[in-house]
């Protein structure tokens, strides 16, 4: 039996695993919120005579542009700060949407089984085998290149993960003695789902969600690469990176800084997910 001191340490480590990344993510959120005050320039302001200037400390750098300028002479630092306003919320919104759809379908499928399950699994497989690029183009062509549409497209990518995992868990739990007993005692379907199954599923969903956000942030960048993502004048890290890909060699700062921003955020969001998973249920490590 572990002594009281050891127990404390383990708990503290677990809490640290969440606290640190949470702090970082919150900082990024704050930066996004206060971008107006923090950014030295309007992110869309062009200084055409100062195109592709390196960061301030380098040879041809200009003191006004701390991190240098991009191919249209726009301040990279300002674009990074404002970019946070887009990259994070989109991924968050997409994951949440995907979670809502996926968890609901997964629950229904796992609990009711039979024909409901049959339909849901077909939907999942149809979505997975539908070429994502075609899906993205079709949706955007019909509904327009708006932010909300982009969220829907990204959500389409993530709901299947939620659905599959939740379905599996629901299967297991609903076959559980506890649940069968509740049903035998006359509890309604809804009550059973809400009181017995959902509380076990939700933590799982949260963990999947945090791990998913990172992937969606990166996916947004890949969509821009193919020409389907964020449209100007909106700024996002993913679009920055994609737009500047021609200049990887010629102007390293145009890709490195957005890339670092992406990397840092994805890293800490993933850490947050790992930490949450550790706290919520060691059994969940299997995911």
């Amino acid at each position: 039996m572990a002594g009281a001191g050891e127990w404390d340490l383990a708990l503290r480590r677990r809490h640290l695993k969440i606290a640190v990344p949470l702090l970082v993510v919150l900082t990024v959120v704050l930066v996004a919120v206060f971008a107006d005050a923090l950014a030295p320039f309007d992110p869309t302001a062009q200084h055409l005579t100062y195109r592709l200037r390196p960061p301030r400390w380098a040879a041809r750098g200009d003191p006004r542009f701390l991190l240098g300028t991009d191919h249209l002479g726009r301040d990279i630092l300002s674009r990074l700060l404002y970019g946070a306003r887009v990259s994070l919320p989109i991924a968050l919104a997409a994951t949440t949407t995907g979670a809502i759809i996926g968890v609901t379908l997964g629950l229904l499928s796992g609990y009711f089984r039979g024909s409901v399950d049959s339909v849901v699994t077909k939907l999942i497989d149809i979505q997975l085998s539908f070429p994502f690029i075609l899906f993205a183009i079709a949706v955007i062509a019909v509904a327009g290149p708006k932010l909300s549409v982009l969220v829907m497209v990204l959500a389409a990518r993530s709901w299947t993960t939620f659905a599959r995992v939740v379905r599996g868990e629901t299967f297991t739990i609903s076959g559980n003695d506890y649940v069968m007993a509740a049903r035998a005692l006359g509890a309604s379907q809804t009550r059973v789902i809400v009181r017995h199954i959902a509380p076990n599923i939700l933590p799982l969903a949260v963990v999947i969600g945090t791990l998913d956000i990172g992937a969606l942030i990166i996916l947004e960048s890949t969509l821009s690469f193919v020409g389907l993502g964020i449209q100007p004048p909106t700024v996002s890290w993913g679009k920055e990176l994609s737009d500047a890909r021609q200049y990887i060699q010629l102007a390293w700062w145009t890709t490195t800084f957005p890339g670092l921003a992406l990397l840092v955020v994805v890293l800490f969001v993933n850490m947050l997910g790992d930490g949450l998973r550790d706290i919520l249920d060691p059994r969940l490590k299997a995911r």
Binding site: I126, P131, A141, G259
Partner: protein, 305 residues
């Protein structure tokens, strides 16, 4: 046996669903006639073109004809290439299959052992190193990785070609890039799978009994960790086929991904439909294989599928 039949039925519906949705999606998104005629067509010329392409008939008629032909493997003549669409897709399939297959093999060969290593030596430097690698792999868009490889290995070091197709040399960079795409998450999954298995009671019992570490890991651990891994790799097929689009673009690899992107841009209906159908078939085949392996490894699971 009935299980197999049920699965086949399931996948037949899936293929039908995807093919129909693609049919609808294409027709909602724009007029192919407009795309194919140069600069300055008159309205009459456009109508003539639409008739030649067969897109001016009512949707239902088009759909019925389409489904009938589709199940015989015929998708019509490519609007852009002027030859049979199915042939156009199949020509490029080996290249994509080679790329995806190599990437999968690379990922399996490197990522899985690394993940297992990280699990077995949890908390040590090795674990930390592997985790750092995976974090980087998941934190950068892989097209950036591909471009960096071209620059460093192809241009600066001149070790490998910067793109193209034809020899094993041309395969290295593209498959490395694609393997990077799925490798990071594969390694993490291998690690957490292994961790979970290692933590189970019977494993501790086996170790307590004095069995050597590697026996424990290989015999018992792997077998159980394999299940979620196999499913995962099967799932990755879908991701891989999507990822090949980007890699093929960057490296000039003559595969289906690139073709699909071009066909979609130009609304080349027959090629898009043929490619989607064929890709869906592949996805389905892989899934059936995965299911079979799954069932072999753990018969109890059959009910859950």
């Amino acid at each position: 046996m009935t299980w197999l039949v049920r699965r086949l039925f399931h996948f037949a519906i899936v293929i039908w669903g995807v093919t129909t949705l693609v049919f609808v999606a294409l027709r909602l998104t724009g007029d192919p006639a407009m795309m194919l005629l140069p600069g300055n067509p008159t309205m009459a010329e456009v109508e003539l073109a639409r008739e030649k392409l067969g897109v001016n008939k009512p949707l239902i008629t088009q759909y019925v004809a389409f489904i009938g032909d589709a199940f015989r493997g015929r998708f019509g003549t490519s609007f852009l290439h002027g030859v049979d669409a199915t042939g156009v897709v199949l020509e490029r399939l080996p290249a994509t299959a080679l790329l995806a297959g190599s990437a999968l093999l690379l990922a399996a060969a490197f990522a899985i052992p690394l993940g297992i290593l990280a699990a077995v030596f949890r908390g040590t430097i090795a674990d930390f190193a592997v985790m750092t690698l995976t974090v980087i792999g998941q934190g950068v868009p892989f097209f950036w990785l591909g471009l960096m490889l071209i620059l460093i290995v192809g241009v600066e070091l001149r070790l490998l070609p910067t793109g193209g197709y034809g020899t094993l040399q041309h395969l290295v960079l593209p498959s490395l890039t694609l393997a990077g795409y799925i490798g990071a998450s594969t390694a993490r999954l291998a690690r957490s799978s292994m961790l979970e298995v290692l933590g189970r009671d019977y494993m501790r019992t086996a170790r307590a009994k004095g069995l050597a570490l590697h026996v424990v890991v290989l015999k018992h651990g792997l077998k159980n960790a394999a299940i979620p891994l196999v499913t995962f790799l099967g799932l990755q097929m879908g991701l891989l086929l999507g990822g090949t689009v980007v890699v093929e673009e960057i490296f000039g690899w003559p595969g289906v991904g690139r073709l699909l992107l071009q066909a979609i841009s130009f609304r080349d209906y027959p090629v898009v439909q043929a490619a989607t159908f064929i890709l869906a078939m592949i996805f389905v085949l892989v899934n059936i294989l995965v299911d079979l392996v799954y069932v072999l490894l753990d018969p109890r699971v059959r009910d859950q599928r």
